[in-house]
């Protein structure tokens, strides 16, 4: 990205995350869309394109053609379409929106991340929907669940680096604490290490509290070219980098079980293109779809030394007052994990932090902030770097 | 070039439930039942095993033992009364799994506990007629007994496969003879979950009449006497019947006792007499003559006479003996047994 190609986030909108039984998917989409529009009195006709990030509307609700559906109910007549990349759907939508503006063909676009997961009231429906992001033929049909694959990573990490079960539980404790300070979070209750370790086993060593719960939610951001951004905001927040990294879809096809190679690739490229290092990152939102994923993510992003993610978490390095706060929003775990919305919600948290609007969880002296979103078990990774 | 068995292989699931444990559930005297039927425990399949999977592993073992490649197999017959499908052959799955498709014939056979030996007869016929160079007959069952019924103590699981051809057999076929009538001692109607049996009627007019008559018929046909045989395997619905049959024929215990797998794995139905035959082959020396007599309710017996050749020594290192599978055992209690046998209804 050249220096004139940075793209601004000028407005945001987000529903609460959780059991939003009263609303259709179009309803939660409208809440997020209109909050973002009305914040800055942006007319809906000014939006040139709507990028919808969603993982499973087909599986959860039997609904596709989601871009058209949401645009219709929102009264938007611009081109609208859904982008699907499992848990990274929102982040990949965001990246394509950024590219749309960088191309010069658009100046003002909206990204909406949305997921309505509580339509699945049966455990196996939801489990199957989540597993659809894996290689269904050679993972799921062989007996894999999303939890089982992250459990394999957890075992490998514990074996290779001496990471302890308690350290992994500390990710959950921290993220619940952060969520307790976030008014829009799904789980505002604080938890203790012991409650994590006593929760129901999913796939040894991972337990129910290591996992994210089903959630409904929508999050939207309005993106603008640098030039247009200044007409709305004299001191805009910019997306300086947004890189996508690849790893094979199946865990067994990857070189390492203890690294997200696509994440590492995307982060290194982002740092290099920007001329910074991981040390310049003041805080990060990472894809903690399971507790262990946060540990591997912060290592792969270079925010902590490889193999030290568990120790860093235990030491409090990743807490709000630590050297590199991680998931100040509460993460997928605490804030909630409506999958397609998560990648956009991360950007909103960083936006609020950079703007100084993060309330009790505000981080001081932010240089750059990083968002990391992932699809499946790490096949798709998106890394964004934001700042003023 | 003489007609015979080129190789054989068995498979027995590793799980066991003892007669005592089953008796505990139904408040029966395990000690006296175990003694009465001369069975200690029976083999139970894993939750993901069925007649097709057991057949595949037995056939893989048999094929390796024979030294043949899958493309040399011209026929596969799977005899069982527990085929996974009511309509769709098990034999094609076996053929596909070992890589013998598509240039072969295959079919499933059903004749209570003698469907496996019926398959042997058919393959012998095809090879003798020079229609195929080699073929495989399998007898496999995952037998189900009605909970609490006498059959529950013996209904086991296992498979035995024989590769039949003409090139360097480990045992040559001397002759075969069958004795068949319509005798309703044991049956299962279409759609019924468990088989029914006619109690003591399964004895004298059924098992004994057919087993003894087939044996006598074979001896007459070949001009042999029982003294000419070194080893015997009869069908083993329990540990008593084959011994009683041997006694009635004047066969000494030492000639049949090596075949009595039933004591440790139960009645493997279509595999039962073939499993005993396989164990006799595991122990046999070249030149020994072996009598194999199956019995299938309904009813019929197939009798075979084999003479072991020097080839058996050459091929022995490629075989997995029956004892390896019998010794590999993990005991289940009745609750886990019920789970293994799908008796816990989950949906």
């Amino acid at each position: 990205m050249g220096k004139n190609e940075k793209v601004a986030v000028i407005s945001t909108g987000m529903t609460e995350f959780g059991d939003l039984y009263e609303y259709e998917i179009t309803g939660i989409a409208n809440l997020a869309i209109y909050e973002a529009l009305n914040n800055l009195h942006i007319k809906k006709e000014e939006i040139e394109s709507l990028y919808v990030g969603n993982m499973g509307s087909h599986l959860f609700e039997g609904q596709e053609n989601l871009g058209n559906l949401i645009a219709t109910y929102a009264g938007l007549t611009c081109p609208a379409f859904k982008i699907q990349a499992a848990g990274a759907s929102g982040a990949v939508a965001l990246r394509n929106a950024v590219k749309g503006i960088q191309s010069g063909s658009k100046e003002l676009v909206m990204v909406l991340g949305v997921e309505k997961m509580t339509e699945a009231t049966k455990q196996h429906e939801a489990q199957l929907a989540l597993a659809s992001g894996l290689d269904t033929n050679w993972e799921t049909r062989m007996g894999a669940t999303l939890a089982s694959l992250f459990a394999i990573m957890a075992r490998a990490h514990m074996r290779e680096y001496g990471t302890t079960r308690e350290q992994i539980a500390n990710v959950v404790v921290k993220n619940h604490y952060n969520a307790s300070l976030n008014p829009k979070a799904q789980y505002k209750n604080r938890v203790r290490v012991e409650s994590v370790l006593r929760s129901k086993l999913l796939s040894d060593p991972l337990r129910l509290f290591d996992a994210c719960a089903l959630s409904d939610g929508a999050a939207s951001v309005v993106l603008a070219s640098e030039e247009v951004a200044y007409s709305y905001d004299s001191d805009p927040v910019f997306i300086y980098q947004i890189k996508q990294g690849f790893a094979p879809i199946a865990l067994h096809q990857r070189e390492s079980l203890t690294e997200f190679s696509g994440t590492k690739f995307a982060a290194e490229k982002a740092y290099r293109d920007m001329g910074i290092t991981a040390a310049d990152i003041s805080l990060a939102e990472v894809h903690d779809i399971f507790s262990i994923a946060e540990i591997i993510a912060i290592e792969s992003l270079g925010l902590v030394e490889k193999g030290k993610g568990g120790f860093a978490t235990e030491n409090g390095d990743t807490a709000l007052d630590g050297s590199i706060p991680i998931n100040t929003s509460g993460g997928l775990k605490g804030r909630g994990a409506p999958l397609g919305a998560t990648g956009v919600a991360q950007i909103i948290e960083l936006f609020d932090q950079i703007k100084g609007n993060a309330g009790d969880r505000q981080i001081k002296d932010i240089k750059y902030a990083l968002a990391h979103s992932m699809g499946g078990t790490g096949g798709t990774s998106v890394v964004s770097i934001l700042g003023r | 070039m003489s007609l015979g068995i080129l190789g054989y292989g068995v498979y027995i699931p590793r799980y066991r439930i003892s007669v005592h444990e089953i008796a505990r559930i139904w408040h029966e005297d395990g000690e006296s039942i175990s003694k009465g039927i001369n069975v200690i425990e029976k083999a139970v399949p894993a939750m993901d095993e069925d007649t097709a999977t057991i057949s595949v592993t037995a056939v893989q073992n048999a094929l390796r033992h024979s030294g043949l490649s899958p493309s040399e197999i011209g026929a596969i017959y799977v005899g069982s009364e527990s085929h996974p499908y009511a309509v769709k052959p098990t034999a094609v799955t076996v053929a596909e799994a070992i890589g013998a498709t598509p240039h072969l014939t295959a079919a499933d056979l059903e004749f209570a506990c003698k469907a496996g030996t019926a398959g042997m007869q058919m393959v012998f016929g095809l090879v003798a007629a020079d229609e195929i160079r080699a073929g495989i007959a399998v007898g496999t069952d995952c037998a189900q007994g009605r909970p609490g019924d006498a059959l529950e103590y013996t209904a086991g699981a296992g498979g035995a496969a024989f590769v039949i051809g003409k090139n360097k057999p480990i045992a040559t076929l001397e002759g075969m003879y069958s004795y068949t009538t319509d005798t309703p001692d044991f049956w299962r109607r279409e759609g019924a979950r468990y088989p029914s049996h006619a109690g003591r009627f399964t004895g004298a007019p059924s098992y004994f009449r057919h087993t003894l008559s087939a044996t006598q018929g074979l001896l007459d046909k070949l001009g042999l006497s029982l003294n000419d045989f070194d080893r015997v395997s009869f069908h083993q619905p329990n540990g008593r019947f084959p011994l009683s049959a041997a006694k009635a024929l004047g066969i000494p215990l030492e000639k049949i006792q090596d075949a009595l797998c039933v004591r440790r794995i139960g009645n493997t139905y279509s595999a039962s007499s073939m499993m005993g035959f396989a164990r006799q082959l595991d122990l046999a020396k070249p030149g020994e003559r072996i009598l194999l007599v199956s019995y299938g309710s309904g009813a019929g017996s197939d009798a075979f006479s084999f003479v072991v050749t020097d080839e058996i020594l050459e091929k022995r290192e490629r075989s997995i003996p029956v004892d390896k599978y019998m010794d590999r055992r993990t005991e289940l209690d009745y609750a886990l047994y019920a789970k293994h046998r799908g008796k816990i209804i989950m949906k």
Binding site: H124, M142, G143 | -
Partner: protein
């Protein structure tokens, strides 16, 4: 699993048949029609031996759909002796202490998920510890 998919993947599922690139020798499981290493379309069927070693594993207490009746079951990543890795269940594990990386395994023919009463039965290979 649909009938066509089950049928189409049979060779790989039943027999561990994969592909070998005749140009660069790269091995693939399952069967592949293009060599993603050298872009060649000249691939031939390759038969993996079925010998494998354990890389990493877990015990699944919350099952995948169709596997509920097996709970708890063992699931892992194994490396075939030819160097290709696959995901598979590990069956007949009597003592989980033996499940250490490097454990020798053999692929064995089993039923995959339970499926429905009316549907087809899916078979495939799973890994079992070599205990003789």
């Amino acid at each position: 699993m649909g009938v066509a998919r089950s049928w189409r993947t049979q060779k790989s599922r039943y027999r561990l048949t994969g592909s070998k690139c005749t140009k660069c020798g790269a091995l693939y499981f399952p069967i592949n029609i293009v060599c993603i290493k050298c872009t060649s379309l000249d691939l031939e069927e390759f038969q993996f031996s079925g010998k494998a070693k354990l890389i990493e594993w877990t015990r699944v207490d919350e099952a995948a759909k169709g596997f509920e009746h097996l709970v708890p079951y063992y699931f892992g990543i194994v490396e075939l002796e030819e160097g290709v890795r696959i995901s598979t269940q590990i069956v007949d594990v009597v003592d989980e202490n033996i499940l250490q990386p490097g454990l020798q395994l053999q692929m064995t023919f089993r039923k995959l998920g339970e499926g429905t009463e009316e549907g087809i039965i899916n078979y495939g290979l799973k890994a079992e510890p070599v205990d003789w």
